[in-house]
Symmetry: C2
Subunit: 194 residues, 2 copies
């Protein structure tokens, strides 16, 4: 097990309905030293990609993205989520619909901060169905930038989001991929990344 | 002028209605090296306060808080904003009403992550009327923790939020305090902090 898998086993809580609570260190309270180790690992996995910008989405992606960005020495742009349709011509907007929840959301980034010269690393805390991630990729494509890679903290490997993104040919690196978990026994199985 | 005031003069945009746009480096695109300098400066200003936790609020406070937290070597907790009233007993909730906009919002933190032993530094990007900040202070008080200080990037000194917080006796440190700005000339005046 790597450092993040160990932390999930120690401090994560498995709830009914395949919910994994990691709010004590990842997405409510945030362990900055852990984020730092994640930054080091992402730098290793995306070395030589010429990344010059990190893109994430509010809210819980922002903390990880900012600490990771220190390792790459690049700025971060965070996309905003909105339910509104108040479209301003200065914005890239991706409309994403959740297959599971049937809700529509907009992912929005100002045109000022993404363009054809950008080599983008997308960072987020969770990947399940990949709805938000699809919106972020769409926005980089609208900007005619390049998605050089996608770095995720925890991927739910039993949902389809990760597979779809890998099928599309992107380098998707998830530091922990949960294959299955059992809220009765507390047992959690990770996909091998050796 | 300090480093942040200089950056505001160089890259900030003054818009009608006393709006200061700093989205190219502070709250949409984020300059992590700048945040790092802010962390260094906050560490100097809050030295010896025994801070063991940083509290901020989504979304744009999170990035600054996480980079600042590296300097203090403490975890970050971010409060969630909500318009809903779906109250869960495990949450601290502060109801805050904007004097200006007459809107009501809730600021929410899980009880697991704040308690009587916490010596809290509150971090946010902007202080104007101080609505969000009042909610964060209320939450630390509900938790019976101690607000050791408040670190803000940019304070609008011509609005009342900062004065109220200082009147209440808190150590409020804003790295740049805008006294006035003029969208016609682009001129901006900062309060002296010598």
């Amino acid at each position: 097990m790597n450092f993040l898998e160990e932390r999930i086993v120690n401090d994560g809580l498995i709830k009914e309905g395949n919910v994994l609570k990691v709010d004590s260190f990842l997405n409510h309270q945030m362990d900055i030293n852990l984020f730092d180790m994640m930054g080091e690992e992402f730098l290793r996995r995306f070395e030589g990609k010429g990344i010059n910008k990190i893109l994430t989405i509010e809210a819980s992606g922002i903390g990880i993205a900012c600490v990771v960005a220190k390792h790459f020495n690049v700025p971060v742009v965070f996309a905003k989520k909105s339910k509104s349709i108040n479209i301003d011509g200065d914005m890239y907007i991706a409309e994403v619909e959740s297959f599971t929840h049937k809700t529509k959301n907009q992912v929005i980034v100002s045109k000022k901060f993404l363009g054809p010269d950008d080599h983008v690393l997308i960072i987020d805390d969770f990947l399940a169905n990949g709805c938000a991630l699809q919106g972020l990729i769409s926005i980089v494509n609208q900007a005619e930038g390049t998605v050089e890679g996608i770095g995720i903290a925890i991927e739910k490997g039993f949902q389809s989001g990760g597979q779809i993104i890998r099928n599309l040919g992107y380098q998707l690196e998830s530091l922990a991929i949960v294959e299955s978990m059992d809220c009765e026994t507390g047992n959690i199985v990770f996909r091998s990344q050796e």
